[in-house]
Each structure stands twice: as C-alpha cells, then as structure tokens.
Symmetry: C2
Subunit: 454 residues, 2 copies
C-alpha cells in the first residue's frame, strides 16, 4: 500500500471544475485554429529514445523522462523510450514518416501534455499541456502572418484582456548588429544580453555587453538606440543601412501589415529588442505579452532548417506555442465557485418510488440538464434537499406519495425555495422552459454547458 | 539522427481525419456522461511506482511501463514512476487524496490513454484510450442502473447499430454454484470455465469442468441448465432455491427494470452464464456485446471492496469501461474519405493582392468556415485551383486584377465549377448563405464541423 496519495511531484489531479474550465479553453483554441484551417495532430506520449536525445542540448537531455526496457531487458536498467519533451520533435518525425499523406503546406496544431523533469515549484510542473501550431512547407510570409493572426485571435477568444504581439526578425537582428559594428563572433552573445533589457537597467546591460567583449562605445550606442523614446525610428534608420537589416525590416512590415487587417493596430507592434532565446529561428519572430504577466504567453517564429536538423526533410517552417498553462493560471479565479455539479437533482422517497424518480431524471436529461437521482441511503426529504443544495442544483424534483397519488411532480427552485407542481407528463417541457429562463441569471452558467466556455 | 520515423511499436500517430473522428466520439461520450451528472477527472500520465505495482497480478506488473529515476540516480537503472496502466488505481488514489473535496457519492468519468507493454498486433496497441465511469460511495442499486443506462445511451449515441447489455450478478453466480452443488473450493475455477460457453461447445466445457474436479453429473446438469432453450427460466428456478441466489436474482431484476424505462427491453437482458473474468466484482455485473464484434464493447459491475484493496478508503463502488477503441474501429470506415480539410480556399494572385486575399479569408472565417489562403509559390490560377480541390474545399474565392478593378470577388463552387461574382462588401453574408445551403448536401459534412459528430 502506498503511503502517499498525492499525485507524483510536479503533476496534478484535475477535478471537475478545473478540468472543465481547461477543456473549455482547449475547445476555444481548437475552434479558432480550426477556422484558420490548421488541422489537429496527436502523436504518442512516448518516442523512441534516439528520436529525442540530443535535440534539446545537454541540459534538456537531462530533463527527459526515460522509460525502462521491458521484460527480460528490464534488469539491464537501460531505457529505450522516453516521454515527449516538446511538440516540435514529434512534428519533425511525423513530417518524415507521413510526408506523402500530408498536404503541402502542412498546417497543424496539437494540444497535449509534454513531460519535463524540471524542479517543481509554484506554477512549475512536470506535466504541462502544450499547444503548438505550425505551418510546414511554405516560405511565404503569409504563413507567418497567418500564425500571428491565429495566435492573437485565440488569445483574445480566451479572454486575455490586454495583450500585445511583439514582432521582430532574425534578419533584422543580424542587420542591427552589423549597423552597430558588433563583431560577428560575439553576435549571439550580444543578442542574449540585449534580451535582458526588460529585466536589467540599460547601465547593467551595457556592462554585461562590455564583459562579453563589445567595445564600450558600441555597447552604449546600441543600448541607447534600443531604449530611447524614439527607439523604433532610430532602429529603422539603422536597419536601412545594410541589406540584411532592410530585408528584415521588410519582413516585419509585411507580417504586421497583413495582420493589421485582422488585429487592432495597437495589439501588434515592431519590437526591435525582442530576441527570443532559441537559436534556430531564421526569419520573423514574435512574442505575446499581457498586462500583469511577466514573460510571454505565446511565442514563435520562422525556423526554416529546424525540421531537417531534427531528422525530418529540409522544409521551411513557421509556427509557435501558446502558453496555455499560463493563460489558464490567469483565468483560474472563480472557476470553482461558479461551477455547478448538477442542474436538476431528483429525490428518491423510498424504494417503491425509485423507478419513477429514475424516470424523472431521464426526462430532465432529455431536456438538456445535468441530472441525477439521489443515491444515498436516507429517505428524509431534508437530507436529500441538502444533497441537492450541496451539488449546486438549480432545481430539485420531489416525488413522494402525495405527488404519486396526484400524478404530479414538485419542482423546487433551489435558489428561491419556491415550489411549483406540474403534471408528470408536462415535466419535460416545463423544465426546458425553466432552464432556458434561468440561463440568463447571474446565479450560474447555462445548464449543461461548461462554466467558462469561450 | 534516428533511422526509423514510424511511431514506437504499438503506438499511433493520429492525423486530422482520424483524430477529429475520435474527438467527436469522445465528445459524444462526455456529453452523455455529463447529462447523467458524472463529472470528469484527469490524473497524471504517470504514478509513483509503488502506487501501481502489485495491483494487476504478476502478469500485469510485467506490462507496466516504468520510468527511470532522473539526474544522478539515472545510472542506478532503477525506476520510481510508471505510466498509468488503468483508470481504477488512479481513481482509488484520488478518492484517498481528495476525499474531503469530493461529493458523496462521487460520480466520475475519465477519458484518456493508458499504456500497457502487451505484444502489439492488429488492433492491439500499447497506448490505448480508455473511458471509465464509476460511482464511488453508494451501495444503492440505483447507482448500478444509472451506470448501465449511461453506458447503453452512450453506445447508442456512438451509432453502434445493434447491441445488447447482458446483466448478471456475482451473488447470483454464487447461488447458481450452490444450487448445482458445486463445492466451495472450486467455485472460482468453475466460473472461469463456464465463461467459455461462448467459445467452446457444451461437451468441451463439461470436460473441462470435470477436469477441474467437478463431478460429471453435476457438470452436465449445470451446463445443460445454462445452454437449454429455456435456460433463463431454469436458472431462475434454481436461484430461488437458496438465499444468495434469490438475492442475486433480485439485484438483476431491479437493475433491469430500472433501466428498461430508458433502454428498449431487448437491449438489456439477464444472461445467467455471463461471468466476467475479474475476481473483484461483488454485485451486479454487465457486459455489452454488439453484432459483428467478438468479445464485449463495454463491461463493468459493482466492486465494493476494490478501492480499499488498492489503497483507498473502504467505500462501495460500481462502474465500468467503455471499449472506445473497439467502438472506434467499428466506426472507422469512410472517415478519411468524407473528411474535408477546407471549406473555403482563397487564391493569392500575386504579392500586391496578398493582403486583400488575406482579408477575404478572415471574412470567410467570420462566416464560420474553415478557410485558408494559398501559401505556395505559384501565381497560376490553375495550380491554386488544384490546391483548393486537393484540400476538399467546397468553395474557392478568386481575387485577381479584374476582381480588384471591379471591387468584386469570384466565388467558385468547387463541386459544380459554377462561378458567381459578388461585391466584396457582401461576401460574408453570401458565404454564410451558401455554406448553410450546402450543409444539407450529400457532398460532405457541415462546414466547420467535425465529420462524424454524434
């Protein structure tokens, strides 16, 4: 017998209220991505070990959950499978495996758990739902703009009140380094430091840049250009000074202008100092930030050679991840309070009336309600009404000897305490009407619907 | 680089058509179970190793996927976690962990993968979606009947054409053994053999029973009673001869009569020789069989002491599993053929028209369509129409210089080849109308809806 009953470190049990809120959010994501004609993909929870190893750097490799060989090989202590660590490596494998069956371009989304053996902490888990969308096989900037629009529309549909998509381009960043005379050898390091301009002061960033080998005057003028009130205009001018920069700027402007037909102008802006950490990006990059959240709630970009480096064919690709766990954490307040286990509770006033009560619950379900009969052992009405109330039921159907004698059912409004009697044959129609009327009430969500839907 | 790109042995990649059919089926299950007021639960993919080990017998233990310890402990070759093997052990853990937060009774369903290192084969996988529903904390037969009704309603909603729920009871089986004078010590073995009456001939079963130590005359009269044309009546008479049998018969009759208010009488019947293999059942048991499928598509029963034996509290429980993989296999024909990647395809006739085309796709999406612009590199209309056709698009929006000059959009019906021109400002309304009209067509599913919904 195990002594501990909590779920394994870094994982969670999702009970109904939270799970339904999560599923409703995932449903919203599916709905928006689906309208953009991204199609769903689901890969197995585990992959062959060699498919995953070496793809995430040394640190990443250590965080992969490895699965022991089975049967006679178990004693070897060796692993041959491992839990999915992200959604991009499985995508590369699928493109390699099913290429001929897939459309070109292949626009896919995927929503599901990934597993990482990070040190668990507050809001840091080892089983995380990830939500990716990618277009594989198109080098058109329309594909980048489409991803950007789909992500912004989803974030809005999920109810994130105030968000901004920051757009930049790896080409523009290269052009920026060139315009400010950063030596090629330290370009990557310089970008990593510039990425900290949100957290560190300009002086601290200048110091770190100098420490990385950039001449102090260059470091100062670079940081100055990126943090000045007219930063965007100064960077634009600098970018126009070389081909790479000009090409990057054109990418950024194209993506933003395409998206602005569908996203309010203030929600999508050029952000010259947004770098994104991952080295594999090759074109436009973007991040979504939201008021009240540090870090980003979505991020991605173009990664034209990554699929090949992961073992797939050499195809252009663009896409990103929606930080659904972070967005869900933002939304979670009040979910449990407004969640309702039952719409209609049905009393069972003794064995001889059980079949009739069972039938009344069926009538309520046919009217679209979440309905249940009382399954406890008490025949007392007070006890059963307490159960109805504890379940959050909007109505309770009472059917005792008196009702039986008259061929009627008592409908008790659990909020007002009001009771009405209806003929048994009219119960379904009456319940449909009552539930529809109550749908607009402040008291709770619509009957039969998950609480925080869309 | 991995050499093999197929998913690991015994697992599957689900591409869009199949995945959407699966998700639609799971949605149907959720909808029915939800109306019965079963609430969803999701537990982690893995559990602590000690939570799972020893719960499935020696054979089961060998089929558990074990996860290697991480970091410095990895070299030990030891496991500390393991992938979920079923949904019942996690339920027992949740009841133990979250008991005070859970309602009494706790009616829950769960849909998700379990992993078993069985030898893979046709329609035998190592990653299987399981769908369980259980009521924990009620000893009322109403709970058993409710599970039975919810399962039958779900099976019907999933479109299984011809199914029957077979009902029996462990008490009735004990009574049956007593009525036919089977010695207590070999009762379990006798039941296991009787369970084979579907596959073996009566003579073979009699021989096996004799081999298990049952006197030949007893074996003959037992098998005769169970296989005679009037088996049900003969067994009923035998059961009435002792208390256990009579009590079991009362359980069966109560469950069936409660359910018959909601399930057609021919769909739920007493089946005296239905045993179910698992030893933990304590009351009513049931199985759903369907025409054209060997074995069952659902099964369950009452298991009043299992939760305690798995480490949870001592609470009564009843429930079962829906064999969703088997039901999906039954339904899978034609899914891929009728699946449609796109409702509305939008041409891009050159870079200078791209933004306008991008906007047209947004209009189509706002009208509820799955819509996408062309993301390839050809500016030729023929190529782009081929893409639209390959994607199964119902309509293609054509927007070239001619349309631009006139402020119009050409809508091409991809089935008839007919083309109409509409003012750009009227596109949304026209598309909504066209898509609604085509919804009834035999050509395919409703726009924006998964194909096999409901």
């Amino acid at each position: 017998m195990p002594v501990r009953f909590d779920p394994p470190s870094g994982t969670r049990d999702f009970l109904a209220a939270e799970l339904e809120a999560r599923e409703a959010a995932f449903g919203t994501v599916r709905e928006v991505f689906g309208r953009y004609a991204f199609e769903p993909l689901q890969t197995p929870a585990f992959e062959r070990l060699d498919v995953l190893m070496g793809k995430y750097g040394d640190e990443g490799d250590k965080l992969i959950f490895k699965i022991l060989r089975r049967g006679e090989h178990e004693a070897s202590g060796e692993a041959d499978l491992a839990l999915r660590y992200d959604m991009t490596v499985p995508l590369a494998r699928v493109v390699a495996a099913h290429g001929s069956q897939l459309p070109t371009p292949y626009k896919r989304y995927t929503i599901g758990p990934v597993w990482r053996a990070d040190r668990p902490g507050k809001d840091r888990y080892r089983e995380i739902t990830q939500c990716d969308l990618d277009t594989v096989g198109s080098s058109s900037l329309l594909a980048d703009a489409e991803v950007a629009c789909a992500v912004c529309e989803t974030v809005a549909a999920l109810g994130v009140p105030s968000f901004t998509m920051l757009v930049n381009s790896r080409l523009a960043l290269s052009g920026l380094l060139r315009a400010f005379g950063v030596p090629g050898g330290i370009g990557g390091d310089v970008l990593i430091t510039l990425d900290k301009l949100d957290k560190l002061s300009p002086a601290e960033v200048i110091k770190e840049l100098a420490g990385r080998g950039l001449a102090l005057d260059k470091a100062e003028s670079l940081v100055d250009a990126l943090t000045a009130p007219d930063a965007t205009e100064r960077v634009r001018a600098a970018l126009r000074s070389n081909d790479e920069g000009a090409a990057g700027l054109a990418e950024i402007d194209t993506v933003i202008s395409l998206a602005r037909g569908q996203i309010p102008a203030e929600r999508i802006v050029f952000m010259p100092r947004m770098v994104r950490g991952l080295s594999y990006y090759t074109g436009p990059i973007w991040e979504v930030t939201a008021a009240g959240i540090s870090g980003s709630i979505a991020g991605g970009g173009r990664y034209d050679h990554l699929i090949e480096s992961l073992g797939g064919p050499d195809v252009p690709a663009t896409g990103g991840s929606l930080g659904v766990e972070r967005i869900l954490a933002l939304r979670s307040g009040g979910t449990a309070a407004s969640w309702r286990r039952l719409d209609v509770a049905v009393t069972v006033m003794g064995d001889e009336l059980a079949a009739a009560s069972f039938g009344l619950a069926a009538v309520a379900r046919a009217a679209g309600a979440r309905a249940s009969v009382y399954l406890g052992s008490s025949a007392k009405l007070g006890r059963q009404l307490k159960w109805a109330s504890d379940s959050g039921a909007r109505f309770c159907l009472i059917y005792g000897r008196a009702e039986q004698a008259e061929g009627r059912v008592t409908i008790r409004d659990m909020v007002t305490g009001e009771q009405i009697e209806v003929l048994a044959g009219e119960l379904g129609a009456r319940l449909s009407r009552l539930l529809a009327e109550r749908q607009g009430d402040a008291a709770g969500p619509a009957p039969g619907r998950p609480p925080s839907a869309g």
